[in-house]
């Protein structure tokens, strides 16, 4: 047990204690100077009357949902492909990996520069992009955020699916082929069901990741236009570190954790993932 102690103490101090503190701080008023003052449910009642807060939660859920819808089919397709035995596959897989290595800051700055309203690609292709200012209205700004998140994170999910696809027993495909199933039917009746656990894992990662997206919003849109891309994580930062209202910031943070946990639990429960039903049943 002594072997596990240093890491456990360290982790408790710098991850779990702050997590408990965030709950405590959400019932206080603190401006960053002096000590936090207990103020009961003040932050919480204010929050639930705050239209921007409600909107930010909705935007977080919307962005996360769009992320799942865009990234899941794409990464399954790419992952299944990468699990095959094509020539050049290794090289291409290595290139896929590049966005994962870059910081969210680097990724956001790259795309911000590329999509800049004044000198970026859209300003030169107005026939496609209208006035060229993708950051000027809500729907295109959200589109950019979804696109950049997909650019950055699809490789990670592709890796998950690639590994899961490799683990599918070849005998299932042979059996399906004997039954006369074509490539498409094999995909829907063998590959997809076998990937169930991978899909759940990857979706939970997408949900937690999506709800806590922050750097990308800060650099790409600053929550704008107006508050049209002010998702909860950004709103928390804005409240606490720009508005010096740390108590409310803590409340938003706690709310975010609760929402992320609840959604993940629902996904796990609905999918039957918690019963740890093997995908291999009936194989042997």
């Amino acid at each position: 047990m002594a072997w596990a102690l240093p890491a456990t103490v360290f982790f408790l101090l710098f991850a779990i204690v702050p997590l408990i503190l965030v709950a405590v701080l959400s019932f206080t008023s603190w401006s960053g100077l002096g000590d936090p003052v207990f103020n009961g449910l003040d932050n919480w009642t204010k929050l639930f009357d705050d239209p921007v807060m409600i909107k930010s939660l909705w935007l977080s859920v919307l962005l996360t949902g769009l992320g799942v819808v865009v990234q899941t089919p794409l990464s399954i397709l790419l992952g299944v492909w990468a699990a095959g035995s094509q020539r050049n596959r290794a090289v291409l897989s290595a290139v896929f990996f590049v966005p994962l290595l870059l910081s969210a800051t680097a990724v956001s700055i790259l795309w911000r520069s590329l999509l800049d309203p004044n000198f970026g690609v859209p300003s030169q292709m107005k026939w496609l992009f209208g006035d060229g200012n993708l950051f000027g209205n809500q729907s295109t700004a959200i589109g950019v955020l979804v696109f950049v998140a997909a650019w950055q994170f699809t490789p990670l999910h592709t890796l998950i699916y690639q590994g899961a696809t490799r683990a599918i027993p070849e005998v299932l495909y042979q059996a399906a082929a004997i039954d006369g199933a074509g490539r498409v039917r094999q995909f829907f009746h063998v590959t997809l069901p076998q990937l169930r656990n991978a899909i759940i894992t990857s979706m939970i990662l997408m949900i937690v990741g999506g709800l806590t997206t922050f750097d990308t919003v800060l650099i790409l849109t600053q929550g704008g236009p107006g508050t049209d891309t002010t998702i909860s994580a950004y709103y928390m930062y804005d409240k606490a570190f720009k508005g010096f209202d740390y108590g409310t910031g803590a409340a938003v943070a706690l709310l975010l954790v609760v929402v992320a946990t609840v959604i993940s639990l629902i996904v796990v429960r609905v999918s039957g993932f918690d019963k740890m039903a093997g995908t291999q049943e009936g194989v042997s």
């Binding site: 596990a4 794409l74 094509q86 290595l101 680097a106 990724v107």
Partner: protein
Amino acid sequence: MRQRPNYLAGIATLCWLVLVGLPVYVMLGASFQSQSDFSAAGPLSWPAHFTFDNFVSDFQNGFGQYFLNTVIVTVCVVAIVALLVPPLAFAIVRNIGRRSTRSVFRLFLLGLAVPAQAVIVPMFYVMSQLGLYDNLIGVILPTAAFCLPVCALILTGTMREIAPELFEAMTVDGASTHRVFFQLVVPLSRGGLSTIVVFSALQAWNGFLFPLVLTQSESSKVITLGLYNFRTQYGTNVPGLLAAVLMSTVPILLVYLFARRALIQGLMGVGGK
């Protein structure tokens, strides 16, 4: 049956390659162009006259300091992770039957789901109280703590693969737990060790939120914050900005190229014995 080329996925892959390649191409193209050439020729241009001026001006604007700070943070985070995680994983793998060990393991699994945003306000409070605000140590500690869950998971996975007979053989020979750890477990876990080193190095190098909230002065800024600063400072100097982005990613790509080999060697070491 599966050997036939899958055209649909193949086409999707090619599209994806273009999408991944495009920003990288623009970054390289812009970094070596003067600002006036870039504005005249547009974002998709390739430099007609190569220049290193952008890199020089980045260093004049403090890139060197940012770089040094990031190196310090990364080295310290990797050191903490490499010191703490192997004994932890060893304890978990060898004593998973015990209730206390299982609770520890569950704690770290729970930690997997905690996003950094959740603790950023209390972290700011704690670091202010400890007098570590605007100090690189204040960035290093939480960054390392948030690497622990994933690294513990990876390394326990690797250590589980070590055959129980090897432990028995060493114990029969009268080896102490320390000897088992240093002479059996550590050498046989090299693959997993390289993975957690690479993972924590990436996290530390790319970290943004902790430095953003826990540091303030120029002298304690890391690269990601420096880039964020440059973005507001530089205005239309996209080449200067992208040159800085390029410099921030080169070390990562080098580590990745090097670590791929180390990873494979580590895995071969396990398989060969």
